[in-house]
């Protein structure tokens, strides 16, 4: 369980890095696409899902949305559930911090289209999530297996 906890926390941290990479890839490609003569407006954005434009980097946008909306929240729930069984001090606390951070991240990500300033929160909270995931992984890595087992075996 401790290993599972550590691996899931590590994957969340790696996923946050992938999110940043994918988004910059997407934005860079988008600017090149516009620079090459394309137009971006509401109609293009709204037909995106059914008929995605084929600019270099558009996959980055897709990865960011799918990763952020589905995969990372799923990992957050898995980590929280695992934390209930890991028998390690602080495991539930860090998993809960990660879960709340993910919830905030998804909410501000979805709402930042209406309120651009929320984009600042989205960027900042990514670091909170990244740090929390690293802390959780570190906690699991540094906890001594015998102590975990001993505490769980105490009558």
């Amino acid at each position: 369980m401790r290993k599972t906890y550590r691996i899931v926390a590590d994957i969340i941290a790696i996923d946050v890095v992938i999110q940043a990479m994918a988004m910059v890839f997407a934005i860079a490609g988008l600017f090149k696409w516009i620079d090459d003569g394309a137009t971006l407006d509401k109609s293009v954005i709204e037909s995106w899902e059914e008929d995605p434009p084929t600019w270099t980097g558009s996959i980055g946008h897709f990865i960011h949305v799918m990763n952020g909306t589905y995969l990372i929240p799923l990992l957050g729930i898995i980590l929280l559930v695992v934390s209930f069984f890991v028998g390690m001090e602080g495991a539930v606390k860090w998993a809960a911090i990660i879960a709340v951070s993910i919830a905030v991240q998804v909410a501000v990500g979805l709402l930042s289209g209406d309120s651009p300033y929320l984009g600042l929160v989205h960027g900042l909270n990514a670091f909170v999530l990244f740090a929390a995931a690293l802390m959780a992984a570190k906690l699991a890595k540094e906890a001594k297996p015998d102590l975990v087992g001993a505490s769980a075996n105490k009558p």
Binding site: T39, D41, W55, T69, L80, V81
Partner: protein
């Protein structure tokens, strides 16, 4: 101790997962269902007599047709195919064509004529259905798969017959898997002319569409030349077939002569302002040659004598025409001061599951699809609908089968020409009061014409008491109207 820890772990897991599992399960939509059974009945404050699925004699939408003995005046064959669309600029994109092209052929009729369209599905695997956007057709001809017909399968045909009783600019498009089929090209313009023709010297349809990120007018990227001698007048029919609002402006004065097909009373010249054509909406404007009419940021009509050199894009205006105050008031013929029914159509967003998928979804009156209202009316009712948009994003609201009169926006009454609409741009934070006469029995979609939003559940229906439909969403025909 270990056992206790495990028990607490399982309890905590249950507390986290059980609500998620319950919401997920409750959101699942059956693979086959009738729209009559969707959501909840909203009678708009009037007592219900009976409805389509709770007993009493009913009229099937199948019987709500045009006079079958009347001979058609305009006959059109449309064949839908899946394949490559060749844009005039030489690019090819995957999509759907009608008679080998996209946009499909222009259907032109004179007011009062009976139009008969035989639609054939050559090879579209999902099936097709054609909807006559803005034309108040009899319900059986509305072309909504799963509501007014079954999707037309590969190799089969379906004939639509309807009288075009209002002059104006309209369009037709698929209403089967519409968020994919329309986006990928299955649509075309439908123009209804006055008996004596139009006043202007030239009549130009400007059908705007985005193919895979390529903005086009009549399938052409960039500037589209229109030959008109200096001083001649040109009627431009801007038709927005996309999912987002489109701004239209000109480097010369222009007048808006029609909104969603209905003539504007005494339109005044406009200078330095643009007008929004909402998704699915149409705006007719008149300019005098030479002129450059900008249809969105990337495409334009270049109107002028033969050989007119290209002009550059005029800067986008910073102010907009307000259709609430444009033109001059005149009699509307609709008294909405004492409506028989009053409905609220409040759009918001809500976290939850729709058909098992988690997300921040569109809600109608606080409910997620399919728990949406069924607005019940009786024939002859005067209906007022209060539309609110709290969702933070614009929604082009489209009511099938009826034209609605805009009464007010954000509580401010209309003071311009009567503004009749079938596709209304409701911006984030705005509210509108609209009114219409329930004079076309049937079951009618009332949805967001950002078709991706509709596919995500921003769909309700208007249902007449005593009308029922034998068609189902899903089923053997695999009907999927959105």
């Amino acid at each position: 101790m270990k056992r206790r820890s495990l028990l607490i772990g399982f309890l905590a897991t249950f507390v986290v997962l059980a609500p998620l599992a319950w919401f997920w399960h409750a959101s699942l939509v059956p693979s086959t269902y009738s729209v009559m059974d969707m959501g909840y009945i909203d009678t708009g404050g009037a007592p219900t007599q009976h409805d389509g699925h709770h007993g009493g004699s009913t009229t099937s939408v199948e019987s709500l047709v045009e006079d079958p003995d009347r001979v058609a005046d305009v006959v059109v064959d449309l064949t839908a195919r899946r394949g490559k669309i060749k844009l005039a600029s030489g690019e090819t994109v995957d999509g759907y064509t009608l008679n080998g092209r996209s946009p499909g052929p222009t259907i032109t009729a004179r007011v009062g004529q009976l139009v008969e369209v035989r639609a054939t599905n050559a090879n579209v695997p999902d099936g097709i259905a054609l909807h006559w956007h803005g034309v108040d057709v009899p319900n059986a001809e509305d072309g909504v798969a799963g509501v007014t017909q079954d999707a037309i399968p590969t190799g089969k045909s379906h004939t639509y017959r309807f009288v075009v009783d209002r002059v104006g600019s309209y369009w037709y498009h698929s209403h089967q898997v519409s968020h994919v089929q329309v986006t990928r090209g299955m649509f075309g313009p439908l123009i209804v002319l006055p008996v004596d023709g139009i006043e202007q010297d030239h009549d130009v349809a400007a059908v705007a569409h985005t193919y895979r990120g390529a903005r086009t007018l009549n399938g052409v990227r960039g500037d589209v030349p229109v030959v008109a001698a200096e001083g001649e007048t040109v009627r431009v029919r801007a038709i927005n077939t996309d999912n987002g609002p489109m701004r239209v402006w000109s480097d010369t004065d222009y007048r808006i002569t029609a909104i969603d097909g209905t003539e504007v009373n005494q339109p005044t010249p406009i200078d330095g302002k643009d007008v929004t054509v909402t998704a699915g909406g149409r705006i007719d404007l008149v300019v005098t040659s030479p002129a450059r009419v900008q249809i969105g940021g990337a495409t334009a009509l270049l109107i002028g004598p033969e050989g007119t050199p290209p002009t550059t894009r005029p800067p986008p205006p910073t102010s907009q025409v307000d259709l609430l105050t444009y033109g001059t008031p005149t009699s509307t013929g609709l008294d909405a001061s004492k409506p028989d029914r009053e409905f609220t159509y409040s759009v918001d967003r809500k976290p939850g599951f729709v058909d098992g998928v988690p997300g921040l979804w569109w809600s109608i009156n606080g409910h997620l699809f399919p728990e949406v209202p069924m607005f019940m009316v009786s024939e002859g009712d005067v209906v007022v609908m209060h539309i609110e948009n709290h969702s933070g994003e614009v929604h082009p609201m489209h009511l099938h089968g009826h034209h609605a009169l805009v009464l007010s926006r954000d509580g401010t009454s209309s003071t311009g020409s009567p503004w009749w609409t079938d596709s209304l741009d409701v911006e984030a934070g705005e509210s509108y009061d609209i009114a219409f006469l329930a004079d076309n029995p049937g079951i009618w979609m009332d949805h967001c014409h950002n078709l991706t939003h509709a596919a995500d559940g921003l769909v309700a229906h208007l249902m007449y008491e005593g009308v029922s439909t034998p068609y189902v969403v899903g089923g053997d025909a695999e009907n999927s109207p959105e």
